[in-house]
């Protein structure tokens, strides 16, 4: 074979005006000495000399009686086939889609046959988002949602046209829809090209490439802290303390993140769970238990009334954001306090002195948009039963493949010393054994991005595959 290594392909999507042409021109003028081919849409206007620019009219081939999962771009098959016919191999291919293009058939084109798989490597799908105008389309446009959902890299462009708060809100929303994509903020599509080209985004090779924060499931609480408490009658204090002690710190990384209080601002939901130790296993068990309690009926507690550890959801009734609640501890030990809204300062006083939490964690919790496009991440240690995994994925794709835009994962399969790396688009699916686990813990990480995903069913289905 004269062409051993596959040619990397970058797909640029985004609405008209999002900045695709600007980015393309930037790539072409900055990538001197590299031979790139650009396949641009029929309205394309890339104008850089000495580069191979091919215009293409979108032509959808429905390989299997109109099944969307089996739709591919016939024009791309043809053009890519012609681009293989060169003595000197191309360094890369850029595909610019029209503003309304569905990225699905573009991505599926690279699964069409073995020739496509061996000659080309879909490096990443890069979606440009017009930070100013996307809010006008995002609710009404399935195309925008798909373009965000399919992306490996999302560039929020034209950030100079929006306020920091608007940008953070958009970023948060986009991240919720597609937690696996790398997000970048730009003006004039000015981005270091290492974030766009050869990023290896499509083929997930390391579990660490997934954003661990994203992988946290959606909890009904926003903050939890662990306190080591002696037996006795203590005090749970909500609101700023009179004597200026530091409470727990809610470190919100998103600058300008607008945290509006949800529900009644003079109510705060609290669950206090005993926990054996601060080992991750015990913490996780307490967290799971708290999730159930949060789903329970609330017990309304007026200031001055006492709260107890265990399976009770306390709804603290605050007085202008303040309240003191006696907390009686029978058994000394570690206690986890789960707080429904992480914005409320919370203190536990033992003999009038604040106890510092020995451990704490923030849980992102969204109240703003319930986009139908979302991502579900699963991260579970342990080995999987190969056959059950195969059956589960097979059945899942058969029944839900139309709604699943993308999936990626790194899995530990019982009996194999190597990581199983997989990725898919709709029903098309590619899995191969990658490098050995070696000393690193055998942990399964996978993410689904799509429409109307059932987080609970996906989690349960996956856990049932554990050996």
């Amino acid at each position: 074979m004269s062409n051993d290594t596959p040619i990397p392909v970058t797909v640029l999507t985004g609405f008209l005006g999002a900045g695709k042409t600007t980015l393309l021109n930037r790539i072409l003028s900055e990538q001197h000495g590299k031979k790139l081919a650009v396949i641009e849409n029929e309205f394309g206007e890339v104008g850089v000399d000495n580069q191979l620019v091919i215009q293409s009219d979108e032509e959808i081939f429905e390989m299997n009686n109109g099944c969307i999962c089996c739709s591919v771009r016939g024009d791309l098959i043809r053009i890519l086939g012609r681009l293989m016919k060169r003595k000197d191999k191309l360094d890369g291919i850029l595909i610019e889609t029209t503003g309304l293009a569905d990225p699905g058939p573009v991505a599926q084109t690279f699964f069409t046959d073995d020739e496509m798989r061996t000659r080309f490597r879909l490096d990443s799908i890069v979606t440009l988002v017009d930070a100013k105008h996307v809010v006008q389309h995002i609710d009404s446009s399935p195309e925008v949602k798909k373009q965000i959902g399919f992306a490996d890299v999302i560039i929020l462009n034209k950030t100079d046209l929006v306020t920091p708060a608007e940008l953070s809100a958009l970023e948060y929303r986009v991240h919720k829809m597609n937690g696996a994509a790398k997000l970048h903020r730009t003006q004039n599509a000015a981005i270091d090209l290492q974030h766009v080209l050869n990023v290896g985004g499509f083929n997930l090779s390391r579990a660490t490439e997934l954003d661990p924060e994203f992988l946290a499931p959606d909890y009904p609480f926003e903050w939890a802290g662990a306190y080591l408490l002696p037996a006795g009658a203590h005090d749970l204090v909500i609101g700023h303390c009179d004597h200026g002690h530091e409470g727990h710190d809610h470190a919100h990384d998103h600058e300008g993140h607008t945290h509006h209080h949800h529900g009644n601002e003079n109510e705060l939901d609290i669950v206090i769970m005993p926990v054996k130790s601060l080992d991750e296993k015990d913490l996780a068990a307490a967290r799971e238990a708290a999730v159930l309690v949060f789903a329970d009926w609330e017990n309304r507690v007026k200031p001055g009334e006492s709260v107890t550890p265990g399976g009770t959801l306390h709804r603290l009734l605050l007085d202008h954001g303040h309240g003191h609640y006696p907390l009686t501890i029978a058994q000394p030990g570690h206690y986890l306090v789960f707080e429904g809204c992480g914005e409320e300062p919370l203190h536990i006083q033992v003999a009038g002195e604040n106890v510092r939490p020995s451990w704490q964690e923030d849980y992102e919790h969204h109240h703003s948009h319930d986009d139908e496009v979302s991502s579900v991440g699963i991260s579970t240690p342990g080995d999987l039963d190969g056959k059950r995994l195969n059956d589960w994925i097979g059945n899942l794709l058969k029944t839900k493949g139309g709604d699943i835009y993308r999936m990626k994962g790194v899995l530990a399969v019982k009996g194999s010393p190597n990581r199983l790396v997989f990725q898919g688009v709709h029903m098309l699916f590619d899995a191969k054994f990658d490098k050995p686990w070696g000393a690193s813990p055998r942990t399964n990480t996978l993410v689904f991005i799509g429409k109307n995903l059932d987080r609970t069913a996906l989690n349960e289905g996956f856990k049932a595959c554990l050996a």
Partner: protein
């Protein structure tokens, strides 16, 4: 039997197409980058370099009886060239898309010059041209991009394939004779020399055979990968196909290949070209590892000769007298091999 190097030449890029003039005196070769070179069959002397097409040439084809060459390219044009004078004689436009498929109506049907027609496809557009470059007829656009063209050997019909089917156009009044639905991509079309069979090589991967006269059809699947390579032998007996590590031969005599075991001619790598001789029985097959085999399918030990080339073959073309085999390669080298013994 031996395959000996007769001569070789180097082009500036991937050899995207090549073909012998009707009298066998010239070999035309097109590089993917654009230039078209003409070589003397006897000694490999380059007799002309034609500029070909801006942005690249895709295909070429010789007139069945005159030294007239037609080429198609990424500039959306069909160009006509007079070989002896190396002059560009005419250009025709086909709507802007790449011209990817050209086919002259075959010699048997062109006793009268007025019967001489070049079919060309670019995108969904299909047209037939006179040798002077004027348009004889422009067909209504196909439902999808045209992916293969083949004249019926008797010259009565032109088959044009696209994703979704094959249309048979009447060669005289340009109306639809027949339409065959096929719900997948088609990469290649070939007719059997006796006009009985029309065969497509498909994406799914399979070959599909139609008997247009009998309104009958057969489907042969089980290939490793898409089938882009098709060739019929002179007797319409064997259909050679690629689509995997073996060249696969179907016996098309009588009722056809259904229910018959194909003959498998093994290669070490994926087969990338197959070509039967015009009037003799040898089959040349090439694979991605640069190997070229010659076979006599009817023999018990069918393998007759093997040549190993440094780069995979892109195209194979037997000279009209079947003495010379021209091989284009991915690295731009053109080999002309002589069949001896």
């Amino acid at each position: 039997m031996n395959l000996a190097k007769h001569w070789a030449a180097t082009l500036d890029d991937y050899v995207i197409d090549l073909g012998w003039s009707s009298d066998g005196s010239l070999l035309a070769t097109a590089s993917a980058a654009g230039p078209v070179s003409l070589f003397a069959a006897d000694d490999g002397a380059k007799t002309a370099t034609l500029p070909g097409h801006d942005d690249g040439t895709n295909c070429l084809t010789w007139h069945p009886s005159q030294p007239l060459l037609a080429t198609g390219g990424q500039d959306g044009k069909v160009k006509f060239w007079d070989a002896p004078s190396a002059q560009h004689t005419a250009s025709a436009e086909l709507g802007g898309a790449w011209v990817e498929h050209l086919a002259w109506r075959s010699a048997g049907s062109t006793a009268q010059p007025s019967q001489s027609l070049l079919a060309a496809a670019a995108g969904r557009n299909l047209a037939v041209f006179n040798p002077d470059g004027s348009t004889r007829h422009a067909f209504p656009p196909a439902p999808k991009t045209i992916s293969a063209l083949a004249w019926q050997p008797a010259g009565g019909a032109l088959a044009a394939a696209y994703f979704g089917g094959v249309c048979l156009w009447d060669a005289d009044d340009f109306v639809v004779q027949k339409e065959f639905a096929y719900a997948n991509g088609i990469h290649a079309l070939v007719w059997s020399p006796d006009n009985r069979w029309l065969v497509s090589g498909n994406q799914d991967p399979s070959v599909h055979l139609w008997l247009p006269e009998q309104n009958d059809e057969f489907h042969m699947s089980g290939y490793e990968s898409k089938v882009k390579e098709l060739s019929f032998d002179r007797d319409s007996h064997w259909l050679a196909t690629g689509g995997g590590r073996d060249a696969c031969l179907w016996d098309c005599t009588g009722k056809g290949p259904e229910g018959r075991e194909p003959t498998m001619l093994p290669h070490e790598a994926k087969v990338c070209a197959v070509a039967f001789q015009h009037t003799h029985g040898l089959l040349a097959t090439a694979s991605q590892d640069g190997t070229l085999h010659l076979w006599s399918p009817e023999r018990k030990q069918p393998l007759r000769a093997t040549v190993k080339m440094p780069a995979p073959a892109t195209k194979l073309a037997w000279s009209p007298d079947d003495r010379l085999l021209a091989v284009g390669s991915e690295k731009g080298i053109v080999y002309v091999l002589k069949c001896e013994g």
